[in-house]
């Protein structure tokens, strides 16, 4: 058993950190204020193999693992949670299900460009009336013999509009509930596939979130992902992995908040002392650091379990539950240490606090994580 990184992982963390600090940090405030998707950052990530970290080289990936991928999301989210979630949605929610459930042909056609970063990916499950309750889907796909005819609307889709490839879900057997859902791969530009409203969000404003609209979209037969009516499993397994990405994002947000707060408290002088000299500050910082280090173990454990092929559904849920709640808690307390300046957009902490909140909501709310965990515990 080893709790510490080997040289390879440590080396790559250094690379991720260097990239994040030089490329993501300096524009984090600007893309937040302008609600701008940082296309240029993703282009650079593609050049560095960051958009296919856990996939084999033969599919265009970097040949690393889920732990290294989680560490990349973490490092980027330390300085810019918007960029962090874009990476997570692309990797966990679009490339991964194609890698896991796709045919060789689908991998060739879609995974290779995704993992090499030539194309950006997104995932469409949520609908106005169906989130985690996947069986409430109103989108439908009807087998027309030569193709599937897709109709419906998806909402709150991360990377929506920016992505080139979408994994989406629709009912193919309405009466069968969860056993009537199928997954499809869509390309931007399919006739009838358009984008609706872009959300005006509280946080992660540098990520794109929008509606997907399907109006008589003819989806080729070969774009069915997995088997007919087995889409629920695709969705659930994908979200299990996605939670590791979001947990890593939440972990990064907390670590980033602690870092900027540490700088601030060692400079800010009140009552003739640096505020870092007050014991309240010291204890607050110590508690936040300890809690965040605890979260880190959970996140790395979940990622490692996935790499080792150990069932990780509950571990991912635990990591996300704790990481998200810690991110919200830590950013709020850090802002308190900043005082009035922290409430202004001159410092990054208010952005971090706004960004943190979403981690308790998307890819399964914290309540959903608790359902997953208690169910694994056998509590009914």
């Amino acid at each position: 058993m080893n709790f510490f990184m080997d040289e390879e992982h440590a080396d790559l963390v250094e690379l991720y950190r260097d990239f994040a600090e030089k490329e993501c940090g300096p524009i984090a405030s600007e893309i937040d204020k302008a609600s701008r998707f940082p296309r240029e950052t993703f282009e650079k990530m593609a050049e560095m193999d960051l958009l296919g970290i856990p996939f084999p080289e033969k599919y265009g990936g970097a040949g690393m693992d889920n732990l290294s991928y989680a560490q990349c999301v973490e490092e980027i989210s330390k300085v810019c949670a918007s960029t962090g979630v874009g990476l997570s949605a692309h990797t966990s929610l679009c490339a991964w299900p194609i890698y896991h459930f796709g045919t060789e042909k689908q991998k060739e056609k879609y995974l290779v460009p995704l993992a090499s970063g030539e194309k950006l990916g997104a995932f469409g499950l949520t609908e106005p009336n169906a989130g985690t309750d996947a069986a409430g889907q109103q989108s439908t796909a009807v087998d027309m013999g030569d193709y599937w005819l897709l109709n419906g609307t998806k909402c709150f889709i991360t990377n929506g509009g920016e992505a080139d490839i979408y994994v989406v879900f629709a009912m193919t057997g309405k009466a069968k509930g969860n056993h009537g859902i199928s997954a499809f791969i869509l390309e931007k530009g399919f006739p009838g596939f358009s984008f609706g409203k872009h959300e005006e969000k509280m946080g992660i404003r540098g990520s794109s979130t929008c509606e997907l609209i399907f109006q008589d979209v003819k989806v080729p037969k070969e774009n069915l992902l997995g088997e007919v009516n087995k889409g629920f499993k695709v969705a659930m397994m994908t979200l299990d992995g996605g939670r590791i990405g979001i947990a890593a994002q939440a972990l990064g947000i907390a670590e980033g908040a602690i870092a900027v707060t540490k700088d601030y408290i060692s400079q800010r002088i009140q009552f003739g002392k640096r505020i870092s000299q007050f014991q309240n500050t010291q204890f607050e910082m110590a508690k936040m650091q300890a809690a965040t280090d605890g979260v880190k173990l959970l996140v790395y454990q979940a990622a490692n379990a996935k790499d080792l092929g150990i069932p990780y559904s509950h571990l991912a849920a635990e990591a996300k539950l704790m990481a998200a709640s810690n991110a919200s808690d830590v950013t709020r307390r850090c802002l308190q240490l900043f005082g009035g300046y922290g409430y202004t957009s001159e410092y990054p902490i208010e952005r971090m606090m706004r960004d943190a909140k979403i981690t308790e909501i998307y890819e399964g709310t914290s309540e959903v994580q608790m359902m997953v965990i208690s169910s694994w515990m056998g509590i009914r």
Binding site: E8, D11, L15, K22, M48, G63
Partner: protein
């Protein structure tokens, strides 16, 4: 095309602090990095390779064994092959002796790698700041040189380079034939990052070492401390300015007025 890039491992001088009591450099905990100017030289080579993927980039450094770290970094960014020049007898060399040893190493590497069309160096290293090794190496090898390069491209018939050179107050484009040596300064763009795949491969790379006995024909009177015409007599930390005046009047206008008056007294305005 066959390009050699010379690099150096340097302490990150932006992290160096002065001991306020002893007035000495505090080097403990200062990270070692790839000399930034050498990074610009590597980027220039990488850009030539982007256009002409058949280009081979070889990278070399002279230094202690731990200097392999910068070779690995160069491999993870763009280099195809790396060599370390490291030997006891090379220690204490000044720029003239260093450039002489490097010229021997170039000849040696060319036996394996083929003739280099171009040798790229950083303008200077940020620890020594001398800007001498590049031109001195060119002289030992009898190569034409361009210093202060910003960017470069292959010329129309592929026989040489066109280098944009930063001059004193203007830039010029200089044409130079292969083989040649170019030193690079900071361009208007950032050098590329390493890639994950390259980084993983670099960690496993085999880096040949050219040691004391690698150059049987070397003139030993020209290397090491003995072969160095210049010697450091003393080092000291520069005096810190003291007695600065902080101007803090009622308003910005008042402060500005006071400053102008003070500058007037000093006759600088």
């Amino acid at each position: 095309m066959n390009i050699l890039v010379c690099v150096k491992q340097v302490p990150d001088t932006t992290e160096i602090k002065i001991d306020p009591v002893k007035h000495t450099l505090v080097r403990a905990g200062v990270p070692s990095i790839l000399n930034p100017f050498d990074g610009f030289a590597l980027e220039a080579a990488a850009r030539l390779k982007d256009k002409d993927p058949g280009t081979k980039i070889v990278v070399v450094t002279m230094g202690p064994p731990q200097a392999t770290a910068v070779l690995k970094e160069a491999l993870s960014i763009a280099a195809d092959k790396a060599y370390l020049v490291s030997g006891r007898t090379f220690g204490g060399s000044d720029t003239l002796a260093t450039s002489y040893i490097l010229s021997q190493a170039v000849r040696k590497m060319e036996e394996t790698e083929g003739k280099f069309d171009a040798i790229f160096c950083g303008k200077q290293a940020i620890d020594g700041d001398t800007a001498q090794v590049g031109p001195e190496l060119a002289e030992h090898l009898g190569l034409p040189q361009v210093t202060y390069g910003l960017t470069c491209e292959k010329n129309a018939d592929g026989s040489g380079l066109e280098v944009v050179q930063e001059g004193d107050g203007y830039n010029q484009v200089i044409g130079i034939q292969f083989p040649c040596l170019v030193t690079f300064t900071k361009p208007s763009f950032d050098p590329r990052f390493p890639t994950i795949k390259r980084k993983l491969a670099a960690n496993r790379a085999n880096i040949p070492v050219l040691g004391d006995d690698a150059f049987p024909d070397i003139d030993t009177s020209r290397i090491g401390l003995k072969g160095s015409p210049t010697h450091v007599k003393t080092t000291f930390t520069p005096e810190q300015k003291t007695g600065g005046v902080i101007i803090q009047e009622e308003s910005e206008e008042e402060s500005a007025k006071k400053l102008v008056a003070l500058l007037g007294e000093k006759k600088v305005v």
